[in-house]
């Protein structure tokens, strides 16, 4: 079959389809004419009550079915709209909130706090609940014993003098060390001063109403600790000193 034959057959098919449609129209016309010619007989037909009742029920059922479909369609439509609305609302709140400076600062602080906590944790872990002060001095001493609750807080150095600060959150302990010859000025007014042994050497314990000071020295260094703790605790701190390596 060549192209011309195919085109011809296709054309004939199209024409026949159109003709079938024409026959269909004529057929409907014939049906209606037949019915019209039998109109007198048709008018005599009685519709029973049972038939009307059935149709009423049928219509009611279709109505319910249609309402249900309509309802489901609306739910589907509105649920997607509500979802979009909520998404837009959340986005708007996020933009507005993040544009407020106080909020941004709070967020920033949150991350900083997290970061500080991590740093503190890492430092505390180094030496059994204590810390090793980091100073620019070649040699210094630090206590390896601290009363319960006290941890290293900060350190300062100036020349040959170093000051370490420890805290339990409320009270502080100040540990000061300096090469022999450094001058220390202590307020001993109304204070009670006693000589106490610190290991093989001795020191002076100065007790005042608002605190207690322990002062002692070895061949090279003078030491002083002041705080608001029991004397024996101060002595234990003093006895635990070690030199950095």
């Amino acid at each position: 079959m060549n192209m011309r034959d195919e085109d011809l057959n296709s054309g004939v098919d199209s024409m026949m389809n159109a003709y079938y449609k024409l026959v269909g129209e004529a057929h409907v016309k014939n049906i209606l004419e037949d019915l019209e010619s039998e109109k007198d007989e048709i008018d005599k037909v009685k519709i029973s009550k049972s038939m009307d009742d059935w149709f009423e029920k049928f219509i009611h059922t279709k109505e319910k079915e249609k309402q249900r479909k309509k309802w489901l369609k609306q739910i589907k439509l509105y649920s997607s709209r509500v979802a979009v609305f909520i998404l837009v609302l959340i986005s708007m709140f996020a933009v507005v909130t993040m544009s407020v400076e106080a909020f941004r600062v709070r967020i920033l602080n949150y991350f900083m706090e997290k970061s500080e906590s991590y740093t503190e944790f890492r430092v505390d872990e180094v030496v059994d609940g204590q810390s090793t002060p980091q100073l620019d001095m070649d040699q210094y001493y630090y206590p390896t014993y601290l009363p319960a609750g006290y941890t290293y807080d900060s350190a300062q150095s100036a020349g040959n003098v170093a000051i370490f600060r420890y805290s339990n959150g409320e009270d502080v302990l100040i540990f000061t060390q300096g090469s022999n010859g450094s001058a220390y000025h202590m307020d001993t007014e109304d204070a009670e001063m006693n000589e106490v042994p610190i290991g093989a050497i001795s020191g002076y314990l100065i007790v005042k109403n608002d605190g207690i000071i322990l002062f002692w020295n070895d061949d090279n260094t003078d030491f002083m600790i002041n705080g608001n703790i029991k004397p024996n605790e101060l002595i234990k701190i003093a006895e635990s000193l070690e030199k950095n390596k």
Partner: protein
């Protein structure tokens, strides 16, 4: 009847269905009863026809136009014939005998179609004479443009039967146009 008409709501399809029922219930019962000769069976067929046609009514349909009326009449008529054949247990054997006599190779030229365009009503009558369902199924397919599946659902038959009947109806139409049966018109 008036009681339930009073509760009609503004639902387009529902009102179309009710309008169809009110306008054509007598004619449909008449068509079904004429074939089945049984009023109760005819009622059942009309009810079935409304159930089927309800799914094919759209909002733009004109209930009062001849095309709509023709559609539901065709459905009722075919359902009635099916029921009649079931009852008589004859089904379509006699119809198939008629079709067997029709050549499958009828040559139809465009000229023949042009010559008989104004005689389509006679052609439709001839088709009905060959088989009551041929003109109906051609009409559903080419005038109402329903798919084979939709026609099968409407007429309570399988899609295969629809395709077979359509093939035979087309062949019968070509045969009529070819002149073999045209002298009966």
């Amino acid at each position: 009847m008036l009681a339930f008409l009073s509760v009609i709501e503004n639902d387009v399809v529902r009102s179309h269905l009710e309008e169809l029922y009110l306008l054509y219930n007598k004619e449909l019962l008449y068509v079904a009863n004429k074939i089945l000769k049984d009023y109760h069976e005819a009622e059942d067929i009309v009810q079935t026809a409304f159930i089927k046609v309800a799914d094919y009514l759209n909002e733009n349909i004109d209930v009062k136009c001849n095309k709509t009326k023709g559609l539901i009449v065709i459905i009722v008529r075919n359902l009635s014939i099916n029921q009649y054949n079931k009852r008589k247990r004859r089904y379509t054997a006699n119809i198939d005998d008629l079709v067997d006599g029709i050549s499958d190779e009828s040559e139809v030229t465009p000229e023949i179609n042009v010559l008989r365009l104004d005689q389509s009503e006679e052609v439709a009558r001839l088709l009905e004479n060959i088989n009551e369902g041929y003109a109906d199924i051609l009409t559903l397919k080419y005038l109402y443009e329903y798919t084979d599946k939709e026609i099968a659902e409407m007429l309570s038959m399988s899609e295969g039967s629809v395709r077979t009947k359509l093939t035979r109806a087309r062949q019968a139409c070509k045969d009529v146009l070819g002149g073999e049966r045209y002298e009966y018109a």
